[in-house]
Structure formats: C-alpha cells, structure tokens
Symmetry: C2
C-alpha cells in the first residue's frame, strides 16, 4: 500500500487516543490541536508546509509569495477553530546548497512582516540543507476553551454555510501555470486568490465568540470534500446546494472564457481557505 | 553569497527585535522561543528537522531511528532552557510518492511512544508529497519564567560545565557509515549515542529549578562551537579545559583503534546533545 494522506490520517486518529493525555483537548484530526495549559486559556497549534514540486514549481523564485501563503494557510487553520488569538509562529525548512542568502532573507522578512499584520511574530525556527526546497510553519494561538469550534458538532436541522471565495484559487492556479500574463483585472484577482488566500480570522472570531456555529473547518480541499468531512465527523447527512449566484463574477468570467462550468471549480477546486460551518442561525 | 546557516541566523537575530512583541520574551537565537501567555507560566517552543541526504542517507529505511532522534534533539532544546515541562508536539514532513504506508505508520507510532516516555503526546501535524524525504517536529513546553536559563548570562568568574557524552555521537556516526556491523559492545554503544541521544531533561530541570546555571545551551554542534556561542552571547572570554579523563572509555577505545585523538572528537564532533553551562557552584 502506498502513501495516501487521508488513510494515514485515519490511522493516526484511530491510534492516538486523546483521552490518555488530559492536556490534549483536541488532537490529530481537526484543523488545529487544542491544548490545556496551566492558565484558563487553551493553546491552539497547527502546522503546514509548502514543498517544491508539490506546492510550487522547481526553480520558483518568489520567496515573498511562498512566505505569504504559508502564513495564511496556517492562520486559516486557527480561524477554523473559532475565537483564537494568534500568539506566535516558528518556521523551518530545507534549502539546496546553492540557495542565495537573499532568498531566505526575503522569505523571513516577508513572513515576519505578514505575521505582524495578523498580530504575531516569528519566534524561532530551523534551517537545514536539502536537495529540494521546502518551508514549514507552526502557528500557535490562544483561546477560551468555550469559544473553540471543532469539526464534529453538526446538529440535525443545521444549515450549511460558506464564507470566503469558492473555486477562485483553482482558477488562479490555472492562469498562473499557463505562464501567460493575466489579461484582465479579474484574472489578476484570481491569481491573487491562489497566492494570497485570506485567512478568515474575523469571521472565525465572531462565530467562536458568540457560539454561532456548531461545527467548522477551513475549506482547503474544495467544498465537496469539506462537506464530506463535516458529514463524516458528525455522522450526519448534509445536503449541499450551490447556485451560480454564489460564484464571484471573476470566476464566472474566467470559466466562461474556458467554456467550463464555474460550479465545478467551486465544488472540487481546493485551496480556497474560506470557512465552512453549520449553524441554525434562524433561531438566533 | 550562498546560504550559510550561522550568517542567516545572525541576520534573523539582528532584524527581528524581540522588544516590539511583549509576549515574545526570548525570540530567535536561543535553543527555544519563550512566550508569555495569559497564565503565569511561559510557553517554550522549539523546532528541528531531519532531511534525507543531510541528516540520513537516501533510502535509509529506519523510520523508528528517525522518529527517536527527531524527538530527542527537540527535547534537548527544551532541556537547555531550564526547568521546562514538555507539553505537546506537532510533526510534519514530506515523503516521496512511493513511500510505503508502513513507513509513516512506524514513524508516527515510534514518535508517539517515545514522546509518552517523556511526558508528552503528538497533537497534530501535516503530511505532504516531496521528492526527498524530510520530517520535522515542533515541541512545546511550559515553565515558570524565573526557571528559564538563556545562553546569554555567563558571569565573570563562572566555571564552565558539560553534562552528557562528548564526541561519542561523531564516533558512532563514523562506525555506522562504515556499513560494518559493530564489532564490540563499545562500538554498539557509540552508534546508539548517534541515533538515540539523551535529552538531559532532569539535569535541565534541576539547573533551572534551583537557578544553578547562569547560561546554558545544548551541545549540538560540538564543544568548541558551543563554548564560542557562550562567549559571544555573554561577551566574555571562556577558557576551555578538557582532559582525557573527561572522555568515555568507549570513545577512547575507538579513537585508539583508529589512531586518532579522542579529544578531537569531543571538541569538534557534533550531535552530542549534552548540556553546556556556566555557573559558580563553589559559592553555593
């Protein structure tokens, strides 16, 4: 059997019972880990990585783009846990021998500048030699335990919500990979969606603080997969309804130019990093 | 200018002033970051990575060995910060497409089993595809701020101490890389020093708790480099005195068989992961 991330993750979840460690409130399987500390607050921790040849092309010379995206996809995992305040981050990575010093300086400078925008700083890290370039980041946040939203709590009668762009990142990646300069403002915006996804910190904060959502995760693998995760985690059936009006005009324009269905991008495209949650807001 | 880890680290330390972020008590430059949280305790965080072709040979099929070492070298950084209690860890990494699922299962199982021995659990992580194998770990711990020992505090008149093995890891690596089976118990023990370094948690705890050391770091880059770091960080001159009686009989035996000077291993060999500190214990 070859490596298959979701199967491996199932294995991890099945084998590392959280119950044994009383400090570990939420372990492997959610967007981030939640740890009880000596304070009343809980610590929220997540990690993500970008690898040459997998998440970006070999020889890709935009350390700033990588730094921005790496930070944002990690923060998105904190946002998906509810009202979490970013605390700090540690970054590490491996670089080929001939990587110019300016590359790593630009990467770190951008990472810290971007982190500051979101209220945290780079506090540590590690550098190693490696044949192929890869950079990782671990982000830490603090929260009140009662303001955490897991992916497990969908209730019968809940409605399904999505905040943030849908399918735009995938379209942006297509345009970017074509190697052609973006022809329109819309195309430029779609590329930006891919490289600079918006972590939905404010939305996550509000949903957590006022306990509005029963379950939540960030939309990193496409709407369909996200909804399947919610259904599986809560052992509920979820009806997904998506209409053309839910799609941005930029994506509609692009899909039309490619004679493709814009809904397909929204449903199966990944890396949008919006928030998907269920709630019964009508009763509020 | 090509990548040079120590120069890059200097750049990071020079450019990311800790003062701006009041929660960041100790930032880049020490064995671990120290963060003020909402509790009276501080959070101690460190990260380290092992990369194929740099820290282990390509095609090296011992996930258990990698997991054990990766955990231990991270814990060693916590130990070097004083009385730190391990809290949790997050692991991530990149694996080639054809990595067998058993490989990663063995890795994770060993990592968690080893972590439990030291009082923590794996709480999260990330898996990615990568051309060359690499695994990283971020370890978190908690401490009282007053029981943290940095690398900056050496005082005039302090004596220099080292706890843990000296030079044995380098000798073990040589034997391991020779590809020959260890001929003696001593050789076996030296190889074990390389793959299963002992993080000096108890020593770090005592030194921190009773405030016995004025500065401390873990000996990851050899005694000479460690001492230079202490001297530089504290802007002091340090006299290093090392005698044959400070060397283990296993290393002496091995060095003799290779007609080498055992002191050279102790002084310039890396990855010993003992603790180097200065103190004036005579007055205690």
């Amino acid at each position: 059997m070859k490596m298959n991330e979701s199967r491996i993750l199932d294995y991890i979840e099945d084998n590392f019972a959280v119950q044994k460690d009383k400090r570990l409130l939420i372990g492997p399987g959610d967007d981030a880990a939640v740890l009880k500390t000596k304070s009343g607050k809980v610590l929220v921790a997540t990690t993500d990585e970008m690898v040459e040849g997998t998440h970006f092309l070999k020889g890709f010379d935009y350390p700033e783009k990588l730094a921005k995206k790496l930070l944002r996809i990690n923060l998105s995992d904190l946002a998906a846990m509810g009202n979490v305040k970013p605390l700090s981050c540690l970054s590490g990575g491996g670089m080929p021998k001939n990587t110019p010093a300016t590359w790593i300086k630009k990467f770190i400078k951008t990472l810290n500048k971007e982190a500051e925008k979101f209220g945290l700083n780079l506090s540590g890290g590690n550098l190693a030699r490696s044949k192929n370039l890869h950079m990782y980041l671990t982000v830490l946040g603090e929260a009140d335990k009662s303001e955490i939203i897991t992916r497990y709590g969908a209730k019968p009668g809940d409605e399904l919500y999505s905040i943030g762009s849908l399918g735009e990142s995938k379209a942006g990646l297509e345009i970017f990979l074509s190697g052609k300069k973006p022809k329109t403002l819309s195309e430029k915006k779609l590329i930006e969606r891919f490289w600079e996804p918006k972590p939905m910190m404010e939305a996550g904060n509000i949903l957590g603080r006022y306990k509005l959502a029963n379950c939540m995760l960030d939309n990193s693998d496409g709407l369909l997969r996200s909804v399947k995760i919610i259904a599986g985690a809560s052992k509920r059936q979820v009806v997904l309804s998506l209409k053309e009006k839910d799609i941005s005009k930029e994506l509609k324009e692009y899909a039309l130019s490619k004679r493709k269905n814009c809904l397909d991008y929204a449903i199966s495209g990944g890396e949008d990093y919006g928030l998907i949650f269920t709630a019964s807001l009508k009763n509020k």
